[in-house]
Symmetry: C2
Subunit: 211 residues, 2 copies
């Protein structure tokens, strides 16, 4: 039983199911406490004002903290506890998708377990893969975890409103990311709690006003 | 080849080697960017003023960022890159110990990879296991990761100096930890960057002035 092969098989199944139902999807990976749930909830509120119907899969080791926050934000959510696994995989997402009516949503957000290592090796079958980090983890996050940034489409730096309080220069992370991606990709800056930069995050994920 | 069994075997070897050389040791687990390296460096400076000789193993996926910071703090450090693994294990530590002269140090700090899931299952053979989280990750860290807090001796809540800036009440985490450990253990609060609470961290790890 090759775990990665099985994962790829299920990821293709997930991708096909989402495509057939015309559902746009994003896998939000990132560090622990970087603001993934806050971004999912705030994006959901922004996009549902435009008439988009938002679904989500809340990946967590245990409990329903994130799931409850999503439901409170009006999202059609499914809770997915990973137990001993420190990452979601496509098999778990395949099961969770069966609990969602894909004809009733336009966008699916998947929140992965906070971890900047293994999620890189487990694509889930979503259109986009995003990595969320925040200024509070320090300015070395890109240098220390090149793999996950190279295996994703969009990088988001959150909580930029408190960069001074934590003494971190967002410019260092932006430059590291630009260098890692050969000057091709720009890190998106936001402060999801206050809503600053949220529109840029939506645009980077193909969910902007014209998207 | 049972990974956990092999880990336990090597952990016992590590424990014996450290005991024979009278070296006190701590495995610092915790979330990404919580302040593990800052705590290791600041504790090392505090303890070396008391004549203790400090060694360390810097566990990271890749690079030498943390290793360089430890060396700059006067620590006799060994760098240990884990590659695809999102946690250190006792086999890697066993190899790293061979690069250290255990007769030349009194205390060994091991900094694990930032991750609140798998390190719980991979004891390294140190005397103490500590989990470091920070207020900037939110107030739900204990609720969401009970396992690692139950598989460790000391819990440290760092960056408490900026709790107001991030709008997090440290009291919630302290209560969650007390409840999880049946009222037996107290979470240690500190702000390693400013040095507040560092003495309490040392004491909780058996490295206090009378320790
Ligand atoms: N100042 C500030 N705080 C934020 C921002 N976004 C999130 N937070 C706070 O950061 C903490 C963690 O946010 P979450 O949204 O739970 O982060 P997460 O990445 O989903 O966390 P896990 O799922 O536990 O890995 C909470 O206390 C949030 O209020 C932001 O843009 N600015
Ligand atoms: N305000 C404040 N910032 C802190 C404190 N401790 C660490 N930091 C900052 O938090 C960021 C991360 O600190 P590190 O010591 O690198 O954290 P770490 O846990 O070793 O990070 P990784 O090894 O990458 O998982 C850096 O910008 C530090 O300056 C603290 O007590 N207060
Ligand atoms: Mg979350
Ligand atoms: Mg570190
Ligand atoms: Zn994992
Ligand atoms: Zn792991």
């Amino acid at each position: 039983y090759d775990v990665l092969q099985e994962n790829h098989k299920k990821a293709r199944e997930n991708y096909r199911a989402l495509m057939e139902h015309d559902v746009k999807s994003v896998d939000f990976m990132g560090s622990i406490g970087a603001g993934k749930t806050t971004i999912v909830c705030e994006l959901a509120k922004l996009l549902s004002k435009r008439g988009l119907r938002i679904g989500a899969i809340a990946g967590d080791v245990t409990g329903r903290d994130d799931f409850d926050r999503m439901v409170a934000a009006g999202v059609t959510a499914v809770n997915c506890n990973t137990g001993k696994e420190c990452h979601l995989d496509a098999v778990m997402v395949n099961k969770a998708l069966k609990e969602l009516d894909l004809d009733a949503i336009d966008v699916l957000f998947v929140e992965n377990v906070g971890n900047l290592v293994c999620p890189a090796d487990f694509p889930l079958g979503t259109d986009y893969r995003a990595v969320v980090i925040s200024v509070t983890e320090g300015d070395d996050m890109v240098r220390k975890h090149p793999d996950i940034f190279l295996h994703s489409d969009v990088a988001v730096l959150n909580k930029v409103g408190i960069s001074d309080a934590v003494g971190v220069d967002p410019g260092i992370l932006v430059k590291d990311y630009e260098r890692l991606t050969g000057g091709v990709k720009k890190m998106v800056l936001c402060d999801a709690k206050s809503g600053n930069g949220l529109e840029e995050v939506a645009e980077a994920l193909g969910l902007g006003v014209v998207g």
